[in-house]
């Protein structure tokens, strides 16, 4: 049963290779992530499946915002045949520089196009295909045999409820045994937020002047979305608070809270956000996560606390991580919607 799903999964990957249109790539990618999520679920890992489904949605949304902008810029360029000047570019002041760049690009395009067109499809794909197949065969030939060594698995499964508590072994691992990894994971998100703010085209931090979502005209949809907004938010908090008992946890719940803000953007056309405050809050939450982890786990306090406090620790930690992830993805989303799209 899982094999059929995985064959479909491979089929979608092949489709992505042969596809040149960006919109289709996004659609394939979304279906791809749905199918991988359900495969992960069948493989017995609901936490990873939930993270994959939510992340797939967010990746699809980020991609589609950028592709739309990509397309718009190309469209403008095709119609105007010069670099578009409507979007307050700080770099195009010197007319001569623009002309030089334009000429150069024409030359570059002619050169590369000539190279691309000179080869037929077979020539283009035969050698890389054979190379990939060779690597695959080598990989298969040297595949190590033998069963998986279950040492750590058995240790975790037998001891997690005694050491950490809760009912979800995965949450126990990433909140207690490997919380050090989790801190760096949160750090990566902080860095991603800072990087996206620093490296995007526009250098201002405030998100204002984005485009509205144009959903207001769909009256039926808006009224349904309002209900769904609430459900999404509630569901996010449910996932965070029940992270130690069932599948879910800080990351997944945080992603859902961020999804709530997407719905909110769609319904109310809110694209100006006090983003500096959210960034500050994100970093404060990160700091408190680190300090909390230091106090409870790194100092070894958790081993001396009664089991009830383990549950409290997990809930608080899940909540902090959830808030952190929610803030991070909220900033990323609004950055994309308001600045990358502008």
């Amino acid at each position: 049963m899982i094999y059929l799903l995985l064959v479909l999964w491979l089929f979608l990957a092949f489709c992505i290779i042969g596809e040149k249109r960006n919109i289709r790539i996004v659609i394939y990618l979304c279906v791809f992530s749905f199918i991988s999520s359900i495969s992960f679920l069948i493989l017995g890992s609901p936490d990873a499946a939930m993270a994959e489904a939510a992340i797939g949605t967010f990746t699809g949304i980020f991609f589609i915002i950028c592709f739309e902008k990509h397309r718009e810029l190309r469209f403008n360029e095709k119609n105007a045949s010069v670099f578009s000047r409507d979007e307050d570019p700080p770099d195009i002041d010197d007319e001569r520089a623009v002309q030089a760049l334009l000429k150069l690009r024409k030359k570059a395009r002619a050169r590369t196009r000539g190279k691309h067109n000179a080869k037929s499809i077979l020539q283009r794909y035969l050698a890389p295909g054979l190379f990939s197949i060779l690597l695959f065969i080598l990989f298969i030939v040297f595949l190590p045999g033998g069963e998986a060594n279950p040492y750590l698995r058995n240790q975790f499964l037998t001891q997690f409820s005694e050491h950490v508590g809760g009912e979800n072994a995965v949450t126990a691992i990433y909140l207690a045994y490997r919380v050090y990894d989790t801190l760096f994971e949160a750090l990566v998100l902080v860095i991603a937020v800072v990087a996206v703010i620093h490296m995007s085209y526009s250098s201002d931090i405030l998100v204002k002047g984005g485009k509205p979502s144009h959903v207001g005209q769909y009256v039926v949809v808006v009224s349904v979305l309002r209900v769904i907004c609430a459900i999404v938010l509630l569901f996010g908090f449910y996932l965070i608070m029940n992270g130690h008992i069932t599948a879910g946890g800080g990351f997944q719940g945080g992603l859902f809270i961020a999804a709530f803000f997407i719905c909110r953007y769609l319904v109310y056309d809110i694209y100006d956000l006090p983003i500096t405050k959210v960034i500050r809050m994100e970093e404060l939450v990160f700091l408190s996560t680190v300090i909390f982890a230091v106090l409870i786990v790194f100092l070894g306090t958790i081993n001396h606390l009664p089991p009830v406090f383990h549950i409290v620790y997990m809930i608080v930690m899940n909540f902090l991580i959830g808030l952190k992830v929610a803030c991070g993805f909220l900033i990323l989303f609004y950055r994309y919607i308001a600045i990358e799209r502008r």
Binding site: A97, L101, L104, F139, L187, V188, V297
Partner: protein
């Protein structure tokens, strides 16, 4: 103690970013850095007697993550804090935003974490963090070339880390643990080599790309020498990130004890060194020369590590140390030179010794250390490296050193001569050539226009202090070489005076030969220049990664077994 050395810089960085003012008080930064250096030295002193380790959360049974300092980690830890301290002094006089310090401290914390951790998956996480931070740092000024190179750097590193992750998967499947020491134990006791070939090849591919061991990996020096990036990032990437690759190389060699691929890596190291030298000779840009010579030195270090014997091992590790410090000196002084001359092109830089005597003098010291002159740290490391080489490797190392000397003779030409006068036309031309306005504004370009107005530039005193300190370290590492090795490696070494004299003669001869090679074969060689500007596109880099993987797999699986 151990964990705070990692967490404190990160917390400090985030606090700095949260700080309401945009400019950071310099004393805070320098005090924090000094505290870190002190903590690292205390840790180093403690770890001399016995290995310090910390199991996070005290779970035992390899359930949690273990941090530990042993001899190897301690060396890299000391190196990291020393170089970051120098970088802090170097940048303290500049009007850097808090974002700069944020990145610097985060990089320091994650690099220290990379050297301390004993968990295989934790290495993946930290390597990703350092990669991302490096890419952001490269694009600190957000200008043209850095964007393309930064994207390539990020993409290639992400792809390579997927190979590494795959390798971890197999390793976890086979051993059932993620702890390095325990998995080494399990591998040594229960597994045979045929099972380990695939994870070995996967992980070595990733590590080789990290320390640019692949002969075709020209993207890494290209990234190190991006002209628009701050020179601090070139220093960090070239001195520490690449050395982190070597650190991982050693760690994983310990894990895969059964697989003896030293001859393979010996050949690879020789190829890398030769390629690095040839490519470095073809460069026309001072930062590129330094970056490509790093590749050559990495090749040399790998040769030394692949030779059997304690002396060559110690010599190679000491070379990591001495090379990193000399290279940091050169990179930072190149940054000052770039400030003054507003260019990195060798043809336009002349008479550094006369214009900025301190930097010129420091550059001479660092070059002498790099090329292995007597009394410098490079000499000590190369001495030990060669002391156990056999009759084939010995001349090869001397030849590689000759190549290095030739490269640095080429580099030294910037020191002499007369500073070229700048005419009005040149200024106009510089304004007119396709340089976008933003690029000019973003870097604080004081030099070019200042020179045109015949104003002698005032150089930041802190920058000079930083490079002078590093140069003094080079000299100290040479004079007190045996004592320092005793301190770092806990191993008493003896240097025979006769050998030193022999080395000195070889060194002088090499300089003579190097000068002749430079004068008659390198100076106006168009084909070398062509080779130096060879550039792989992204697809070819991916193919070379795959090719390296297949090669390693075949060599380890078929030839060596």
């Amino acid at each position: 103690m151990l964990i705070y050395l990692v967490i404190a810089p990160i917390l400090f960085a985030v606090l700095l970013y949260l700080f309401p003012t945009s400019k950071i008080s310099k004393s805070i930064v320098i005090v924090a850095q000094a505290l870190l250096v002190a903590a690292a030295f205390v840790l180093f002193y403690q770890s001399r007697t016995n290995e310090i380790s910390l199991n996070i959360g005290d779970y035992g049974g390899f359930l949690g993550i273990t941090l530990a300092v042993d001899q190897l980690s301690a060396i890299f830890l000391i190196l990291t804090v020393v170089i970051f301290f120098a970088l802090t002094i170097y940048n303290i006089g500049e009007n850097n935003s808090k974002f700069f310090w944020f990145l610097l401290f985060l990089l320091e914390g994650t690099l220290i974490g990379l050297f301390l951790t004993r968990d295989i998956f934790n290495i993946f996480v930290l390597a990703e963090v350092t990669t991302v931070l490096g890419a952001i740092f490269l694009m600190y000024h957000r200008i043209r070339r850095s964007m393309y190179d930064g994207l390539v750097y990020l993409m290639v590193n992400v792809i390579v880390m997927q190979f590494y992750l795959f390798g971890i998967g197999f390793l976890y499947m086979l051993t059932g643990v993620l702890d390095m020491d325990q998995s080494a134990l399990v591998i040594a006791t229960t597994l045979d080599n045929s099972q380990l070939t695939l994870p070995f090849a996967l992980i070595k591919t990733a590590i080789a790309a990290k320390c640019s061991l692949l002969p075709l990996m020209t993207f890494l020096p290209k990234v190190h020498s991006i002209p628009d990036a701050p020179s601090s990032v070139g220093t960090i990437l070239s001195c520490l990130q690449v050395k982190a690759g070597i650190y991982l190389f050693l760690r994983f060699r310990h894990i895969f004890q059964g697989i003896d691929a030293s001859s393979f890596f010996l050949i690879l190291g020789i190829i890398t060194a030769v390629f690095g030298i040839i490519l470095a000779l073809g460069q026309t840009n001072i930062k590129s020369i330094l970056a490509y010579s790093t590749i050559a030195q990495v090749g040399l270090i790998v040769i030394g590590l692949s030779l059997e014997g304690t002396y060559s091992y110690i010599g190679s590790l000491y070379h990591v140390f001495s090379h990193a410090i000399a290279k940091a000196t050169l990179f930072l002084s190149a940054g000052i030179i770039m400030r003054v001359y507003d260019t990195l092109e060798m043809s336009k830089i002349k008479g550094v010794l006369k214009e900025i005597p301190v930097v010129g003098f420091v550059t001479i010291l660092a070059i002498l250390s790099m090329t292995g002159a007597p009394l410098f740290s490079g000499n000590i490391s190369k001495y030990f490296m060669m002391s156990e080489a056999n009759f084939i490797i010995y001349p090869i190392i001397i030849l590689i050193n000759l190549g290095t000397i030739t490269v640095f003779i080429k580099y030294a030409t910037i020191l002499f001569g007369k500073m070229p006068a700048v005419t009005e036309e040149e200024i106009d031309e510089a304004k007119a050539t396709g340089v976008l306005q933003e690029d000019r504004d973003n870097i604080e370009r004081t030099g070019f226009f200042a020179k045109a107005e015949a104003i002698i530039l005032r150089i930041d005193i802190f920058k000079e202090i930083a490079v002078v300190l590093l140069a003094i370290l080079c000299l100290l590492g040479g004079i007190f070489g045996t004592e320092l090795i005793g301190l770092l490696f806990h191993y008493d070494v003896v240097i025979r005076f006769a050998d030193i004299a022999e080395k000195a003669i070889i060194f002088v001869c090499s300089w003579g030969a190097g000068y002749f090679i430079y004068r008659f074969a390198v100076k106006k060689n168009a084909s070398l220049k062509f080779i130096g500007h060879l550039d792989l596109n992204f697809r070819t880099i991916c193919v070379s990664i795959g090719g390296f993987f297949a090669l390693t797999l075949l060599v380890v699986g078929v030839v060596l077994s």
